[in-house]
């Protein structure tokens, strides 16, 4: 006869037995007591099966050689000992209608849907499909023997029926207590229940003595420690009657099996039918015993929480953990609601259930779950080849440094350097209303940008808060190229399209962020290098044009983020490696070398350039970062103008300020202290090799003006000086050179 191994001992089973049934056939119980439902509702039969803990043994068919270990009586089991167990594939299935449950109501719902010509999938635990949860979509996640399935549907019908009420009274954690349905299943399997006492109506086919009265408690057997030895009921006359027994059977009524229904209560594509949707009477208010077998919450615990002022069902749940365990309240919710209803006089609605309704292994939970992709620029392999330390920034892999960020810094300040700025947002805007769009979108005047010229711009939301910045390059009367920050590109496209639709403008938009690479050639020798690689004529500051550079078609922009003369070369990603190598070759004797983000952030900080998102906050206005110059209030309406006009006259001491300090750079985020009060924080810091001191940007929330500077500002315990920005090349002559 086939056997399973339970705690090291072989146990024979009959064909078709569940693991729980096999154990009970051998005179054992799968757990450590508690009323068994054998219907997958309660947690009292969970055990470790083949290395996976928290398996409902009543729902698990016994197979020869299966290894079962009981959970410890106290404390949690090891969640998984077999790391490969169930780390399996995901199957995707699609249907018009998914019906969960194959009882009467489920079959009716499935038939109706089929009659309507719908493609229907029925999921039923008895058929091996254990529903783990219902997610947005709706998507039903199902576990079966060898896979996880994601079942996608237009409509999910929850027809999970009703569960039997579990007893809540002293002694309800003893072994040998079963529900009426469980008793029927045991009898059908030919398992001898011994002397059985039935509280309530005796189930069909079960030999047991029905007793009248209200269940009071279960008493422990003198012969079988931990098992029930008697049932005590109280009759209407107030007298308690003790009924010795081997098995106690409880038929206390039903409650909706509504874990899945409670999980998807607000999803309009999920319907609940049959008993799962019915409002059954609540059981009597529990007065003693275990309410929540998963979290081992006693009635005394509920009373204690109530006494401390937790009177809401949700709060009691959180205070006691009642309902947060493996069954997600399938056992305890009716009793918990009865408890609250008794004390408050109002019947509370059940709380939301959370996935997973069944325990999953990490393998199951993570199968086909992918973290957000981190993009690579076309030069990724070049950076790695050059020894770069790569880091994630704005959703891209970017070179942080190439081993010596100070040397990279000096290459920019004294010679020429290359930076990979392919991650910048890049967008083409074209159409008869393109100018009108940009005038309304940006706070800067756009109409006076001549074709071939560009301008730095802020992007404001309706509240006048800065959420991105970039350049506007005018190509013709009705065509522009826009740039955005690396992290802001995707949001910027949506922002543009939303306003185009809102205003009904005739504009075409193409996001070129991932189609174009960009290399920044920067440094005092940048113009010479550009001449060597074939730039046909020099560009003046803020000019741009399409040209051929080292044989590669480029959109060349003359601008500066580093503070030095810079050329940004936008080009197709398929030619990027070719261009990068040509620039390095041509500039070898000029001392060209690439620079990473670490050097770039220091270079821009010396110039006082703000990085939106790093130096700005969610409510940063142009005024707060001293960039009113980028706002033309007189030019007509633009997004954010109303808010800026209304707040312009309000007092506002918060400012992003420049600071300098001797010694090493304080950590970004370090507090700025005035006197003894924390008055702000550092957003960026850099020990400037050129200036011989550390330069910083930081937020000060104390009212302050250049005429009335605060007495003493300290950062990191050192005196810092408020310093006007830029810290370097105040006239900007190097960038324009």
């Amino acid at each position: 006869m086939a056997r399973i191994i339970v705690d090291g001992e072989p146990i024979a089973f009959d064909d078709g037995d569940s693991v729980a049934l096999s154990l009970m056939r051998a005179g054992q119980v799968p757990g450590h007591g508690g009323c068994l439902c054998l219907a997958g509702d309660c947690p009292n039969c969970v055990a470790e099966v083949d290395g996976v803990a928290w398996v409902r043994t009543c729902q698990t068919r016994a197979r020869a050689g299966m290894v079962v270990r009981r959970h410890p009586a106290i404390g949690a089991p090891s969640p998984i000992t077999n790391v490969s167990a169930r780390a399996t594939t995901v199957r995707h299935r699609h249907a018009d209608v998914v019906v969960v449950g194959n009882g009467d109501s489920g079959q009716r719902a499935a038939r109706d849907a089929l009659d309507d010509g719908q493609h229907v999938i029925v999921l039923d635990a008895a058929g091996g499909d254990e529903v783990v949860g219902i997610f947005a979509g709706p998507t039903v996640v199902v576990r079966n023997v060898d896979a996880i399935a994601h079942v996608h549907a237009q409509l999910v019908i929850v027809a999970t029926g009703a569960a039997e009420l579990q007893p809540t009274c002293p002694g309800n954690a003893l072994a040998g207590i079963v529900t009426a349905r469980a008793a029927g299943a045991l009898a059908q399997a030919g398992i001898d229940l011994g002397r059985a006492i039935v509280v309530g109506a005796a189930p069909a086919g079960v030999l047991g003595e029905s007793v009248d009265g209200t269940l009071v408690r279960f008493e422990v057997s003198a012969l079988r420690p931990g098992s029930v030895g008697a049932v005590v009921v109280r009759t209407d006359d107030g007298v308690e009657h003790v009924h010795p027994c081997d098995t106690a059977i409880v038929a206390l009524g039903r409650s909706p099996r509504d874990v899945l229904a409670r999980m998807a209560a607000t999803d309009s594509a999920v319907r609940v039918v049959g008993p799962a949707a019915d409002a059954f009477d609540l059981p009597p208010c529990p007065t003693s015993g275990t309410v929540c077998p998963c979290s081992r919450v006693e009635v005394d615990d509920l009373a204690g929480a109530w006494g401390r002022g937790f009177h809401d069902l949700e709060l009691i749940k959180r205070a006691t953990l009642c309902g947060t365990g493996t069954c997600q309240g399938a056992v305890c919710v009716p009793h918990l609601r009865a408890f609250v209803a008794d004390r408050s006089g109002t019947t509370p609605a059940p709380f939301t259930a959370r996935p997973a309704a069944r325990q999953l292994t990490m393998g199951e939970a993570s199968t086909n779950v992918f973290i957000d992709t981190c993009r690579r620029t076309a030069l990724h392999d070049e950076h790695v080849r050059l020894g770069a330390t790569m880091d994630r920034w704005g959703g891209w892999w970017r070179p942080w440094h190439y081993g010596d960020h100070v040397a990279e810094y000096w290459a920019v300040r004294e010679a020429v350097s290359l930076g990979d700025v392919s991650t910048l947002g890049k967008m083409i805007v074209s159409g008869p209303d393109a100018l009108a769009l940009l005038e309304r979108l940006y706070p800067t005047t756009i109409s006076d940008i001549a074709p071939g010229r560009s301008r730095y711009v802020l992007l404001l939301n309706e509240r006048g808060h800065v959420f991105d910045d970039g350049m506007v390059c005018r190509e013709s009367d009705d065509r522009f190229v826009l740039t955005f920050t690396s992290g802001g590109a995707a949001g910027a496209e949506m922002w543009l399209r939303d306003w185009i639709e809102t205003w009904g403008l005739d504009v075409r938009v193409l996001d070129r962020t991932m189609a174009l690479a960009a290399i920044n050639v920067t440094g005092p020798l940048a113009s010479e290098l550009m001449g060597r690689v074939g730039l046909s004529a020099p560009l003046r500051f803020l000019e741009h044009r399409h040209d051929i550079v080292a044989g590669v078609p480029c959109h060349v922009m003359r601008l500066s983020f580093t503070g030095e003369a810079s050329y940004e070369l936008h080009h197709g990603i398929d030619r990027s490696v070719e261009l990068w190598r040509a620039l390095l070759d041509a500039g070898r004797d000029l001392g060209v070398r690439p620079h990473g983000l670490q050097a770039l952030f220091g270079l821009r900080l010396e110039k006082g350039h703000v990085i939106v998102g790093a130096d700005t906050e969610l409510d940063t206005t142009p005024r707060r970062i001293a960039m009113d110059w980028a706002v033309k209030m007189g030019k007509g309406d633009f997004v954010g103008r109303t808010a800026l006009a209304r707040t312009a006259s309000l007092p506002d001491g918060r400012r992003l300020v420049g600071l300098t300090i001797d010694g090493p750079a304080p950590t970004e985020g370090a507090p700025i202290v005035i006197g003894t009060e924390i008055a702000g924080l550092v957003t960026s810091s850099f020990a400037s090799p050129l200036l011989g001191q550390t330069v910083m940007l930081g937020w000060l929330r104390t009212a302050w003006s250049p005429e009335h500077p605060p007495a003493m500002v300290t950062v990191d315990g050192r005196v810092a000086a408020l310093t006007a920005t830029p810290f370097y090349d105040r006239k900007g002559s190097r960038a324009r050179a």
């Binding site: 594939t89 995901v90 199957r91 995707h92 699609h94 979509g137 998507t139 994601h150 996608h152 086909n368 779950v369 992918f370 973290i371 957000d372 992709t373 981190c374 993009r375 690579r376 620029t377 076309a378 891209w396 083409i428 074209s430 159409g431 008869p432 393109a434 009705d478 065509r479 005739d506 075409r508 938009v509 193409l510 070129r512 991932m514 189609a515 174009l516 197709g572 990603i573 398929d574």
Partner: protein
């Protein structure tokens, strides 16, 4: 799975009517790979097999027509779809052919160009390494 390679194409953003007209004009049965207008959106099309953007004429003076090298893809036989891609797709793959399908594949925004006998799986080149790694 074979590595994804740069797709030769032209990208067009124009009025929907202009793209409709172009689609009707450039279909060239028998080409290998066939010239196909993949409608990414009402106003956005990718013309496969046309690397020279200047060769495309479209009836919209404000159209954006550019050479597109920002996508990478791989062709495979239609009957390999189930094995290679479908386990990583949460959405329903269209049954009509030809068809363009777009959505997350193994967590990467990607597209499928489904013809009667072949499938082109493609995505922006920037995350193509992740797509390849996850499907291999």
């Amino acid at each position: 799975m074979r590595a994804l390679e740069t797709i030769v194409a032209t990208r067009i953003v124009a009025t929907p009517a202009a793209i409709d007209a172009l689609a009707a004009k450039v279909r060239a049965p028998g080409a290998d790979p066939p010239v196909a207008v993949l409608r990414l959106a009402d106003d956005d099309a990718l013309v496969l097999g046309v690397p020279d953007a200047t060769s495309v004429t479209i009836d919209d003076p404000h159209a954006i027509v550019v050479a597109e090298t920002g996508f990478s893809g791989v062709w495979f036989a239609a009957d390999a779809l189930d094995a290679i891609v479908r386990p990583f797709i949460e959405w329903s793959v269209p049954t009509a052919r030809p068809a363009l399908a777009q959505g997350l594949i193994a967590g990467v925004p990607a597209k499928l160009w489904l013809t009667a006998d072949r499938v082109l799986l493609f995505c922006p080149t920037a995350p193509a390494h992740d797509l390849h790694e996850r499907l291999s």
